[in-house]
């Protein structure tokens, strides 16, 4: 049972001591992010289950409540996010081919688009606050109390069930927004090290991995937008 040995390569400064080479380190980082994204899917999955259950239980109330969301702002935000996914992909590409200037510009654009999304989301939340649509006693002194003339309650829809929709809306979009905020933080970290010139065609794994995260957060929104905003649009709305 003889043992033979594998020679170490001349090591890159970014190579951590416990990896054999950069290739192994890259594989581990990428797989780690994919596994993390699987946990994220399961995390959001609990809320998607609650959504499915209550939407099938209270279809009328959900359609009414959904029609009261601001579809224009939601659609603009969808476009903003899809475009940010494009700039993120450009950031990865430019890092891989070693175009540092283009890499920094792509990262800045992605951050700006991410912040733009969060700004528009904040405007939407503020509208809901003004219309007393924050569910339960989440905001003390501003209980859930929508104007019945604006909400157009049709037969079969109860205000309690409308509140259930808004709770799920805030839980899902709020959790999504939290992920966006973390994403902007990670991108700022990437930007800082890009300006310092850390990433190169040999070592660009952090850009790729954070890119994966960013695309994932975008995809969650791609599901949220139709499920929350486009529900029952065909029945008229306003």
């Amino acid at each position: 049972m003889a043992e033979s040995y594998v020679e170490h390569e001349v090591s890159h400064p970014a190579l951590q001591h416990h990896f054999e080479n950069l290739e192994q380190q890259r594989e581990a980082g990428t797989l780690g992010m994919w596994v993390f994204l699987v946990t994220e899917i399961m995390f959001f999955g609990g809320m998607f289950l609650a959504y499915t259950l209550y939407r099938s239980k209270f279809p009328a109330a959900f359609a009414i409540a959904s029609n009261h969301l601001d579809i224009k702002l939601g659609a603009i935000n969808t476009a903003v996010l899809i475009f940010s996914s494009f700039t993120m992909a450009m950031a990865v590409y430019n890092t891989q081919v070693g175009k540092r200037r283009a890499q920094i510009i792509s990262l800045v654009l992605t951050i700006v688009l991410g912040l733009g999304f969060l700004g528009i989301k904040a405007v939407e939340y503020y509208q809901k606050y003004e219309d007393h649509l924050i569910p339960g006693s989440l905001i003390p002194g501003n209980p859930f109390n929508p104007d019945p003339h604006e909400m157009h309650l049709t037969p079969g829809g109860s205000m309690q069930h409308v509140q259930m929709f808004y709770w799920i809306y805030f839980a899902m979009t709020g959790m999504h927004a939290l992920h966006m905020i973390i994403g902007v933080g990670l991108l700022s970290f990437l930007l800082y090290f890009s300006v310092k010139g850390r990433y190169s065609p040999e070592y660009h794994n952090p850009v790729e991995v954070i890119g994966l995260y960013w695309h994932f957060v975008d995809i969650v929104w791609i599901f949220l937008f139709p499920l929350l905003y486009l529900l029952g649009r065909h029945t008229g709305g306003h």
């Binding site: 594989e27 581990a28 946990t39 609650a50 239980k57 006693s137 989440l138 259930m164």
Partner: protein, 552 residues
């Protein structure tokens, strides 16, 4: 054959490489983190054990004399929460798994050493928040937190306890993530998937359950906390919410969580049975894939906790069938272990006693699990001591026997010292006897109708409870003995050689305790798992390392 030369005490290893508190609290070495976990989970085990003793003492008599009902409710809840979330779930993966996964596959460390350390800090933070909740006034909902009691009616620290469990969940997720990535990307040259020790397969399956299940309990507890704090209505039937949705979400994690406890234990037992029979495991690939099958089926059976919770009868029938199905891969393991013993060269060292004990207890726990998967029987024994006995046979008899067996087996590697074998065998037998005396009478009491979670009970059940409390006292002594002699052996035990059991696994082909980077060189694997060479060749492996020790 020459006398075996023990490694020189001056040899640098992971324990004496650095000194001082800071070198431990900021370590990224998976072996040191394993020891941090070992200390912490032992601490929580003893807290949970104190609650267990309080329960058993109260139930010694039919009247509620030692504890009143409100206190008793908190005691059994806190026993469950501490034992499940802070001992059983991290027990084997975070200690033995952390220590051995990189060593068994020939890696220097886990893929993400900093995340590994972070997971320990998250565990400690979650544990700290939970202990705060216990000291502030405790929680009385049962470890299951059923709504609407937990959201509306309970006057105890539900949110603080939930927060502790929520935080702790992330340590479990990060451990699972680290194992999966490590097993995929860090295997030494020649260490193919089918040369992996079965301990690794079991940990791979466990990690899958950890990463797929734990996020669901995280979101569930978050929803529960919002419901309790802001009365959102999601679990409140008064405004259209569904309390059974909580049960579905809760058990979607908490049933697979049982497999987080038992799968690593099965991995340990596979190692022990093969190695102490000095025989290749019977049906390696069946044992390996049965771990994955248990992980997959484990996610499809949560509904058997809801047979009496307004679940549709058809759903109940499907969940019943799937619960029977999960017994198949479990039985494959038991049969293969038994077949491995056949004509093996068996030695009854302490770890082997635990492994054989595991097979016995797991068989009883698994068989009664089939009773519970049967719709009619389940309705009869729901919320009785029959359930309590069943899950203690699986979770305590299964998880703790694997944990203690593994701890003894790898103790020479972990500490560099041998434990006292006589005391080891004695306490293994004591724990086996104490365990059965504690929990077997509960099957009978439960079948006769004694309900769980009450501090008082009709006098005809007293005989079972007296037996059970007597058993628990024996069990407590049984747990204390290893705690004492393992600590003792760290200083006074016989110095352990690199390969005290003369085994082929990679973790035995380095010194005890291992150096910080585990191996002097990246090993190249040219042998199958459990490929036992003639004794002379095994000696050569040990001697090779002692020669390098002398050179350094």
């Amino acid at each position: 054959m020459e006398e075996f030369i023990p490694p020189l005490p001056s040899r640098i290893n992971y324990i004496n490489a650095e000194y001082g508190l800071k070198s431990w609290l900021l370590t990224r070495d998976h072996k040191r983190i394993a020891l941090l976990y070992l200390g912490s989970i032992t601490f929580f085990f003893f807290i949970g054990g104190v609650y267990a003793m309080l329960i058993r003492l109260e139930l010694l008599t039919p009247q509620g004399d030692l504890l009143q009902s409100t206190t008793y409710n908190k005691v059994f809840t806190q026993h469950g929460i501490i034992m499940v979330f802070f001992f059983l779930i991290p027990s084997i993966p975070a200690t033995l798994g952390n220590f051995l996964v990189p060593m068994m596959i020939g890696a220097k460390d886990l893929a993400f050493p900093r995340i590994n350390l972070l997971s320990w800090y998250i565990y400690m933070l979650g544990g700290g928040v939970t202990i705060y909740a216990l000291l502030a006034g405790g929680v009385d909902t049962g470890w299951t937190f059923y709504t609407p009691f937990s959201t509306t009616f309970s006057n105890s620290y539900v949110v603080a306890t939930g927060l502790g469990i929520f935080i702790n969940g992330f340590s479990s997720i990060l451990t699972g993530l680290n194992f999966i990535v490590t097993i995929h990307t860090m295997r030494a040259p020649g260490m193919t998937w089918f040369r992996l020790p079965l301990f690794i397969w079991a940990h791979y399956a466990t990690s899958l359950v950890m990463i797929l299940g734990t996020p669901v309990i995280a979101i569930t507890i978050l929803l529960l906390a919002f419901e309790r704090l802001a009365h959102i209505g999601i679990f409140d039937p008064a405004v259209g919410g569904d309390p059974v949705l909580f049960q579905h979400l809760f058990w979607f994690y908490s049933h697979p969580a049982v497999y987080i406890m038992i799968l690593p234990s099965m991995g340990v037992v596979s190692e022990l049975i093969a190695n102490f029979s000095r025989k290749n495991i019977f049906g390696y690939s069946f044992v390996a894939f049965s771990s994955l099958a248990i992980a997959v089926f484990g996610f499809l059976v949560w509904g058997h906790h809801l047979f009496v919770s307004s679940q549709s009868l058809y759903a109940g029938m499907i969940f019943s069938f799937l619960s029977f199905a999960v017994a198949v891969p479990s039985a494959i393991k038991v049969f293969n272990w038994t077949a491995t013993l056949y004509k093996g060269s068996i030695s009854f060292d302490t770890p082997m006693l635990y492994a054989l004990g595991f097979i016995g207890l797991f068989t009883i726990g698994g068989m009664t699990g089939l009773f519970l998967a049967t719709l009619g029987v389940n309705v009869h024994v729901t919320d009785t001591y029959f359930i309590v006995a069943h899950f203690h046979y699986i979770m305590v008899g299964g998880a703790i026997f694997g944990y203690l067996g593994g701890l003894h087996y790898w103790w020479p590697k972990i500490s560099g010292r041998m434990y006292p074998d006589g005391w080891g065998r004695f306490s293994a037998l004591l724990i086996f006897a104490g365990f059965n005396l504690t929990f077997f009478p509960q099957f009978v009491a439960g079948y006769l109708g004694m309900p769980r979670r009450y501090h008082a009970y009709p006098p005809e059940f007293q005989v079972f409870n007296v037996l059970s409390t007597a058993g628990a006292s024996i069990l407590a002594v049984g747990y204390l003995i290893p705690a004492v002699y393992l600590v003792w052996s760290m200083r006074y035990g016989k110095v352990a050689p690199g390969n005290p059991w003369h085994l082929p696994g990679l973790e035995w082909r380095t010194q005890s305790p291992p150096p910080t980077e585990n191996f002097d060189y990246t090993p190249v694997v040219t042998w199958e798992a459990y490929e036992f060479a003639p004794p002379e060749e095994m000696e050569v492996v040990g001697k090779y390392h002692d020669q390098t020790a002398e050179k350094v």
